[in-house]
């Protein structure tokens, strides 16, 4: 059975061009980039190139790029590193809809005595910037706000946020794992201090990420034991993955237009058709202000896991904010923060596309999904009650 993959916000296919540049590093090009011979030195050159490729996508200087093991490490390192470097400040400002990589890090610091402010969002998933302005003060060490939400695709106005935060003396970190490669970014003109990205969300390999650190940002090293990555993150480089993420970033820049035209059109078609054909279906999150590849739709009175397992029978991959899929008992924290009623949150499904999706795949989903929803509605004790 063919896999039809609409779960690109979870992870994405490694681009064939990426795999191609990675393979030699697993065989003949095994040198250590720190070695004092040209066999190792050539790898150092490849890493230098990869660093430049990442910097070009972000519009920053290559010296501001630190390679990490992934988005989660970057988020942990950013928040804890700033806290450590600014011991006199005891407050962190974040939002209720962050990825657990940020939210759990903050809550861990809360148990150590830090004050955590979690900003709420409205029904559309948007922040109240006046509240941000009120809550950030001289005691705030770091403000960590995601660029785009992984569940709804809603984009936060990061440049406005950066303006507000820069006046306060706090460091601004943004988890841009979902945004990079999907929308244009330019850090050269930005007041963002720290930015996390992840390789496997933009058709690069897993196990590699980046923390962008703006020149002059006070942050402590997060792994010691070597000179690598400017002494911020020691350890022999994950050479193949670094070369891979470099290539992935180069490709992302090339396909950025495609993402915002063709992929967006596919997403819009999928969304419109589903909302039209499935009864009691609703869009979650701001329709305009979001990533071009993501849609999050609630199917009221049916449960997300059941939908996913029936889609799985056709080889269709998506994900859900229902309680049952996560093993927790409550639906997604993002849905709850937005005030999506439980009736809709349990039946929320996220479809996230990529440049590898085709119109045939979207048509296949549009054909298969409505009967699944109807079947589950027939099983549901709530449907006929209305």
């Amino acid at each position: 059975m063919k896999t039809i993959y609409f779960d690109n916000n979870a992870t994405s296919r490694v681009a064939p061009e990426v795999l191609e540049v990675m393979l030699p590093l697993f065989s003949e090009l095994y040198g250590n980039p720190s070695s004092m011979h040209s066999f190792g030195g050539q790898i150092a050159q490849m890493i230098k190139k990869a660093r430049q490729q990442v910097a070009d996508l972000l519009g920053c200087d290559s010296s501001e790029i630190i390679f990490t093991s992934g988005g989660t490490e970057s988020d942990n390192a950013a928040i804890k590193g700033v806290i450590e470097a600014n011991p006199q400040k005891r407050k962190i400002v974040t939002t209720r809809v962050e990825h657990p990589a940020v939210l759990s890090t903050c809550r861990e610091l809360e148990t150590l005595g830090f004050t955590i402010v979690e900003l709420g969002v409205d029904r559309q998933g948007n922040l109240d910037l006046d509240e941000l302005k009120e809550r950030v003060d001289a005691n705030t060490a770091v403000v960590s706000i995601m660029y785009a939400n992984n569940e709804t695709g809603v984009i936060f106005p990061m440049e406005k946020i950066a303006e507000i935060v820069s006046g306060s003396g706090a460091v601004l970190h943004t988890d841009a794992v979902q945004a990079v490669g999907k929308i244009p970014l330019n850090l050269s003109k930005s007041k963002i201090d720290l930015l996390s990205l992840s390789g496997h969300k933009l058709h690069g390999p897993k196990g590699i990420g980046v923390l962008y650190i703006k020149k002059g940002t006070r942050i402590s090293p997060f792994i010691v034991g070597g000179h690598q990555e400017s002494g911020k993150r020691a350890g022999t480089e994950n050479t193949a993955a670094i070369v891979g993420i470099g290539k992935a970033c180069e490709l992302a820049a090339k396909f950025l237009d495609d993402e915002n035209t063709r992929v967006k059109k596919l997403r819009d078609k999928l969304e419109e058709e589903i909302l039209k054909t499935c009864p009691d279906s609703k869009l979650n999150g701001d329709k305009k202000n979001r990533l071009p590849n993501t849609t999050n739709i609630s199917f009221e009175f049916v449960e997300g896991e059941a939908i996913l397992l029936m889609l799985d029978k056709f080889g269709i991959c998506a994900s859900s904010g229902s309680a049952c899929t996560s093993g927790s008992l409550e639906p997604s924290h993002v849905m709850r923060a937005m005030g999506v009623p439980f009736t809709a949150a349990h039946g929320s499904i996220r479809f996230s596309l990529s440049r590898y999706n085709t119109e045939e795949e979207v048509d296949f989903l549009i054909e298969k999904l409505p009967p699944i929803i109807n079947r589950l509605r027939q099983l549901s004790p709530f449907v006929n009650k209305k």
Partner: protein, 284 residues
Amino acid sequence: MWEYTDKVMDHFLNPRNVGEVENPDGTGEVGSLACGDALKLTFKLDKNGKIADVKFKTFGCASAIASSSVLTELIKGKTIAEASKVTNKEIAEYLGGLPEQKMHCSVMGREALEAAIENYQTGGSKKHQLEGKIVCTCFGVTDKEIERVIKENNLTTVEQVTNFTKAGGGCGGCKPKIQEIIDSIRGQKEKQHVQMPQKGQKLTNIQKISLIERTINEQIRPALRADGGDIELVDVEGKKVIVALRGMCAGCKTAEFTMKDVVEARLREFVCDDIVVEEQKENQ
């Protein structure tokens, strides 16, 4: 991804007995949209009092739908008395097992059955009501329900109780209360199973210590607690029992009296006639 058995997938993809029985003799509705799963069970009896027709409607995940489907299969053809003996364990076993975090789906099946039987027995007049006191306010789970699931499934941890009943899975505020319920049930079980040594027998050291502990727990501590005090067993050396007084008892002027006339007297009464009690001072 959950590891579901073929049986679960079969009953999820091809659920048996879906729908609602017309003019049912019994109707049971449990769960809610907010909780993430809900089940409506309806049945009709034949003239011999056996369940002739039974149908379900379920909002929930694959294991909730499969559990409901299996429940209808299990009770079809049974009398009310027979059906009322079906446990959540039977439902889970019939499915070849459920992931631990999904056991609450099988419990929901049994609850719906109970509600439907109760509805039948009260002539359809009575709506199912929760028994006992609410422990988990997030998911509306009562102490009676928690006790029952612990006993039927031999549960020992709060996490297991959450997996089976959802209690404690929301804000988590009721977890200490769940632990108390587990402790009290396990305590009762231990009493049932372990033959307690009796006074007058020749006691081993271990038997003696456990008898001393039991006497302190059951005979002495409640009396001290009534006055805001407490007692802790520190050590046993032959005939000598060393204890520490806590709370209001510590530093009480009549502590010496308490030691002789309450602690020592009770231990002599219940354990051994020649016991001597000594108090460990706070700073020792």
